[in-house]
């Protein structure tokens, strides 16, 4: 039997993606991890250098009274940020998708476009607009509440430790709800009408059709949306930075991993930047995201049953 020639064309096709991805993603990632194993030193005469310290930075980050509470604060804020997305953004996205997939709703394309629009706008713009809307000085949030006679409920939402993070999470939900909606919609549209019709003939209510036919069939999408939300939220930075700056005020109540990393790496106010410690925080972020994704891969995706339609 003649040996098949080495499939050179596969290499050629893969090369651009592999090279670009290695140069711009994998190499910086590994280099950042390498940096997290070093600490700055001051030599005789004031020259600055870097010395290898092993996992010392990680130990400091997890145990030093200066760092550990900051990390814990950022991590728990990040968990809350993620939880609000999972509990509000994704269910609302799913409901919208179900509504928009129904043939009974008129003007579906219009709604779809309107709801998706904020996701394509710049986060800086979104942050700025919402800052203005919620500003106690110029904002319209008080007037809007006034329409319902609830003006006394208006608060400086972004200025209170108790409300700032929830407010920003909801702003982020408002911006991003279009993405799960589109993904769910695409999955729902893929379900053959015969299945739904058969269920209705068998006497299923709309509620029954959704829970017993549609939802099981879009479970893979539910998983994908969850993992995308997870990765996106634990990498989040831009909205907090735009509205509250790197200081993530008030009193770090909106500090998430991304802003903690930025503050540490680049420095803020009078505190000079600390690149090695920043890289360490980036390392912890990678670890958190990696473990979340692994849980998804082994705990969820592998158990999904493929259903031939």
């Amino acid at each position: 039997m003649r040996r098949r020639p080495f499939p050179v064309h596969i290499l050629v096709f893969l090369a651009p993606a592999v090279l670009l991805y290695t140069a711009f993603m994998i190499y910086p990632l590994l280099d950042s991890l390498r940096l997290s194993l070093f600490a700055p030193t001051v030599e005789e005469g004031g020259a600055r250098g870097l010395a290898f310290v092993g996992l010392q930075n990680y130990r400091t980050l997890l145990s030093h009274p200066q760092w550990a509470p900051q990390l814990l604060n950022a991590l728990s804020n990040n968990v809350l940020f993620f939880a609000i997305h999972m509990l509000v953004q994704n269910p609302v996205g799913l409901s919208l998708a179900v509504l928009l997939s129904s043939k009974l709703v008129r003007g579906r394309a219009v709604y779809r476009t309107l709801i998706f629009t904020p996701t394509v706008l710049s986060v800086v713009l979104i942050g700025f607009i919402w800052r203005l809307i919620l500003s106690p000085l110029w904002g319209i949030s008080g007037d809007v509440l006034g329409l319902f006679g609830l003006e006394h409920l208006n608060q400086p939402w972004l200025g209170q430790e108790s409300t700032a993070l929830v407010t920003l999470s909801l702003v982020s939900v408002w911006q991003n709800v279009g993405i799960p909606m589109m993904l769910f919609l695409a999955a729902l549209v893929g379900i053959p009408d015969e299945l739904l019709e058969a269920a209705r003939v068998d006497g299923a209510t709309a509620w029954g059709v959704f829970w017993r036919v549609q939802f099981p069939l879009i479970l893979p999408t539910v998983g994908i949306v969850s993992v995308l939300t997870f990765v996106g939220n634990f990498n989040a930075f831009d909205l907090i930075y735009t509205t509250q700056r790197a200081i993530a005020g008030p009193n770090f109540s909106t500090d998430i991993m991304g802003t903690l990393f930025f503050r540490t790496f680049f420095g803020f106010q009078l505190q000079p930047g600390n690149p090695t410690m920043g890289a360490t925080i980036a390392g912890v972020m990678l670890l958190v995201i990696l473990s979340g994704v692994l849980v998804y891969l082994f705990g969820y995706q592998r158990r999904l049953q493929r259903i031939e339609l």
Partner: protein, 416 residues
């Protein structure tokens, strides 16, 4: 554009033999001053050195340190670096980013106090040309004062009852300040009224020597005095940023604005009503008074700049009486630090600077030495002052937090 380019080319060719040429970029956090630099200072410099092109390239104040650091590391920073006082610039110098300026002609025009913010601990190297100091106080809306029959308070108690009168009038906010950016609470709050309580330099040096702490005496009393502002701050101050507060004051929404003298130039342009200023009033029964007269801004030379000679010419020019006069009057509220006699035309700026004659001056308590460690003393003051005004903590808690932060790393404060 083409014509200008042609002119520049011509003058460069002609002037090459006569003078220095080159182009300089100035890094700064003073984005409020962009037009002043473009329209007043740079043209005046070019009148003397027509062949040196100068670009003023500011970034946002809150991001300046971080942005500058990364630019210096990457080698893309401008030739002239606007210097924050004390450790931030000292750190840049020690890392070799700022060139020593000991032999710069004209440095003899500055006193030791003026240079203190930009000198190594042993006094051997100066690395920035001192430009200006800023003074804290209160700016008020004269129309509102006249309408409500108010006059400048002489004591802190009078100040608080004045704010109460404005509150009761219902028409205006008594005190225009936000805490969203946090630094206002510490800088225009705590460091503004504080020196009267910790007796200026006496208290500040005590902190450095370890003979007094933030949780006792004047430093604690200053937190208590600051906490009295809470009922008088504007509606929604917790989410009000510094530019928002500036805008609210110039729109005539409130009576009193806790100010840094740098606010004067912005207010002069924007406020349609006459303004007055009073210094932080001392508590009842205290004879002497203290003000914060903080060495705030200097200019250094990027050691990696390819235009060293042109940059040195610019710095040298900054030590002249011409520059002092120009800068002080173009930017009322930034008071020159050189020994030249300068006349201020702006009445508000004149009022601020007149306090130098009435009260003893000091600089902000946390800037020298105390912000070297982690946690950074200044950063902690921002945080606790904002939380104090937001009503999240008591003055005692604020004082204890800062003191604990200082004791965590500063040996003289660790005591017995």
């Amino acid at each position: 554009m083409k014509l200008r380019l042609g002119l520049v080319l011509c003058s460069t060719l002609l002037g090459a033999a006569l003078a220095q040429s080159g182009s300089l970029t100035i890094e700064s956090w003073r984005n409020d001053d962009l037009t002043v630099w473009q329209e007043t200072i740079i043209p005046a410099f070019n009148a003397r050195y027509p062949d040196i092109q100068v670009t003023f390239a500011p970034s946002a104040p809150a991001e300046y340190n971080a942005v500058l650091n990364s630019k210096l590391e990457a080698g893309s920073a401008g030739d002239l670096i606007t210097c924050r006082p004390f450790d931030v610039s000292l750190d840049l110098f020690q890392r070799g980013h700022l060139a020593p300026l000991n032999d710069l002609p004209g440095m003899e025009n500055f006193s030791d106090v003026a240079k203190s913010a930009w000198i190594t601990d042993d006094g051997s190297d100066v690395f920035c040309v001192p430009m200006a100091s800023v003074i804290h106080g209160f700016i008020y809306n004269q129309d509102i004062f006249a309408e409500l029959g108010l006059s400048e308070p002489q004591t802190y108690e009078e100040f608080l009852s004045l704010l109460q009168t404005v509150r009761e009038s219902g028409a205006y906010e008594p005190l225009i300040m936000g805490t969203a950016d946090q630094w206002e609470a510490a800088t225009m709050g705590y460091q503004n009224i504080g020196p009267n309580y910790w007796r200026g330099e006496e208290g500040r040096r005590g902190l450095i020597d370890g003979t007094i702490g933030y949780d006792e005496g004047g430093f604690l009393a200053a937190f208590e005095a600051l906490a009295a502002w809470r009922p008088f701050l504007m509606n929604g101050y917790q989410a009000t940023t510094y530019p928002d507060a500036q805008a609210a004051f110039t729109l005539g929404m409130g009576a009193v604005y806790p100010a840094g003298s740098w606010d004067i130039s912005v207010f002069n342009q924007q406020a349609p009503f006459p303004m007055g200023a009073f210094r932080p009033p001392p508590p009842e029964g205290q004879e002497d008074c203290f003000i914060s007269d903080h060495t705030d801004i200097g200019m250094g030379l990027n050691a990696a700049s390819p235009n060293q000679e042109a940059a040195r010419l610019f710095l040298e020019w900054m030590t002249t009486p011409e520059f002092a006069e120009l800068y002080a009057n173009a930017l009322p509220g930034f008071f020159p630090l050189s020994n030249h006699e300068v006349t201020l035309q702006d009445p508000l700026a004149q009022e601020f600077v007149s306090w130098r004659g009435e009260c003893a001056s000091t600089i902000r308590s946390s800037y020298q030495i105390l912000s070297r460690g982690e946690p950074n003393n200044e950063n902690q003051l921002w945080n606790v002052s904002a939380r104090l005004l937001n009503g999240e903590i008591t003055p005692q808690e604020a004082a204890q937090t800062v003191q604990a932060g200082l004791e965590a790393w500063y040996e003289p404060q660790q005591g017995e």
